[in-house]
Amino acid sequence: MHISEGILSLPVLAAGTAFAAAGTGIGLKRLDPDRIPKTGILAAAFFVASLIHVPIGPSSVHLILNGVVGLILGWAAFPAILVALVLQAVFFQYGGITTLGANTVLMALPAVICYYAFHPLIHKRPAIALTAAFACGMLAVMLSGLLLSGFLVFTGQHFLEVSAMVIAAHIPVMIIEGIITMFCIGFLKKVQPALLR
C-alpha cells in the first residue's frame, strides 16, 4: 500500500516524516545490535512475501502482512518497514522520497498498534490465539486504509470520494490478510514459537 509522489500536501508530508522519524527512532533505540541481522533478514522475508499475489475471484491482490510484521518485530517494525520502502522506492519507484515518511507511518503504525493489542493474546489457548491473529491481520490492513484515506482527506476535501474508494477496495484485502495471518501464526506457533516471543 503506497501513496505516490505528488499527491499529499506539505503539512501532511511533514507530519508523516516527523512521525516516521520518531517511530523509527524508538524502533532503532529499542533494537539491540545483536538483533539487527535477524530484523534485516526478516525484513527481507517480508519484502519477498509482500510480492506474493494471492488469487481472489478473477483478480489477485498482493499481501501487505503488516499485522504479522508487528507481531514478530514490535517497535522494530518501523525501521524494518522504512527499509523495505526505501528499497521499493529506489528499485521500483513505488512511493518515493517525500512520501517515505507518510508511507512508513501508514504501514508501521498499525503494525505497532497490533503488536500491543494482540501480542499478549497469541500465547493463549488456540481458539483465542487464532481469533486474535485473524483480528490482527484484518485490523492492521483496516488501520492502514483509514490512515491512507485520512492523509488524503487532510490534503484536500476533494479527495473524499477517492479515499472512500480506497477503503472499499481494502475490504477484500482485509479478509484475506486476516485468514493468512491466522494460518501463518498458527503455523509459527507449532513450528517455531520462539519467533513470536
Binding site: 509522489e5 541481522p37 534485516g40 533478514i41 510480492l51 494471492v54 499481501l63 513505488y94 477517492v162 491466522m182
Partner: protein, 251 residues
C-alpha cells in the same frame, strides 16, 4: 528481481559524488512536491527531463518504469473529474466533467512524474551498496544503514528460498485459486519463509561474530570531490529556485 538497469554508466550524473546526488534528490523532491501552478510544474518537468538526459538513460526503460507507477495516478483521472466540484466543462450523461478535477489530476500527474524522474536520474544511477555508503557518510543513523544493507543483501537469498518452496508445492500438485485451502497454503509458505529466514539469520550472525563483527559496517568508499559536484549543486539549486519563483510569483 532487484535489477539495477540504470546503475552502471559513465555519464556526468554517474560520475557525481553520491552524497551530493542523494541530498539533491531529497531537496529537489520536496520543492516539487509543494508547488501547484502550471508554469512551476512545467519547469520542474523540464528540469527532471534534463536530469534523465544528462544521465544518458534509455528513454524507453525510463518510460516503462514511469508507466508502471502511474497506476495510482490513473485512479485520480477516473474519479476527480467527476467529484471535485466546480464549473462543469462537459456533460456526459448524468455525469458532469468538472474543470477543477481535471486541473487537480493534471497537477498530480505532472508533479509525480517530475519527482519520479529526478529520483531515477539521481538515485537509481548508483548501486544500492553505494547508496548505503553515501547515507552512512551523510550521518544517517548507523543502525538504519546497517539494516538497509543487510536487508538488501538477503532479499536475493530469501527470494531463492521462496522459489524453492514454490517449486515444492507445485510438484505436489498445488494450483492457486480462490479457496481456503489456497490461502492456507500461502500462509504456510510465508510461515516457512520466516522460519527459514530466522534460522539463516542465526547462522549469519554467528558467522559475523566469528569474523570479529562489532555492530557496524565500515564504509571504505572514497567519493569524488571534484568541482563538478559544486556546479551540479548550483544547477539544482537554480532549478529549485526557479520553480519556487514561478510558484510564488505575484500575479
Amino acid at each position: 528481481m532487484l535489477d539495477e538497469p540504470f546503475a552502471s554508466g559513465n555519464s556526468v550524473i554517474h560520475r557525481l559524488d553520491p552524497r551530493f546526488r542523494v541530498m539533491a534528490a531529497i531537496v529537489y523532491s520536496f520543492v516539487v512536491a509543494i508547488v501547484y501552478r502550471f508554469p512551476a510544474l512545467g519547469l520542474a518537468l523540464a528540469a527532471s527531463l534534463s536530469m534523465i538526459g544528462l544521465a544518458g538513460l534509455n528513454p524507453g526503460r525510463v518510460f516503462y518504469r514511469l508507466l508502471l507507477v502511474n497506476g495510482f495516478v490513473a485512479l485520480f483521472w477516473v474519479v476527480l473529474p467527476f467529484t471535485a466540484g466546480g464549473e462543469i466543462l462537459y456533460q456526459l450523461g448524468p455525469l458532469g466533467i468538472q474543470k477543477r478535477g481535471i486541473v487537480l489530476a493534471a497537477q498530480i500527474t505532472l508533479k509525480s512524474n517530475a519527482i519520479l524522474m529526478a529520483l531515477i536520474a539521481l538515485t537509481a544511477t548508483m548501486s544500492f551498496a553505494t547508496l548505503g555508503h553515501a547515507m552512512n557518510q551523510l550521518k544517517f543513523p548507523e543502525k538504519l544503514v546497517y539494516l538497509l544493507l543487510l536487508t538488501y543483501r538477503y532479499i536475493f537469498v530469501i527470494e531463492q528460498e521462496y522459489k524453492k518452496i514454490l517449486r515444492a508445492i507445485k510438484i505436489r500438485g498445488f494450483s492457486p485459486g480462490t479457496s481456503l485451502h489456497c490461502y492456507k497454503t500461502y500462509a504456510y509458505v510465508i510461515g516457512m519463509l520466516f522460519v527459514r529466514a530466522s534460522a539463516r539469520a542465526e547462522r549469519v550472525y554467528q558467522a559475523m561474530r566469528c569474523r570479529g563483527f562489532a555492530g557496524k559496517f565500515y564504509s571504505l568508499a572514497e567519493f569524488d570531490s571534484s568541482r563538478r559536484n559544486y556546479v551540479f549543486t548550483a544547477l539544482v539549486t537554480l532549478a529549485a529556485a526557479g520553480i519556487l519563483y514561478l510558484e510564488y510569483l505575484p500575479k
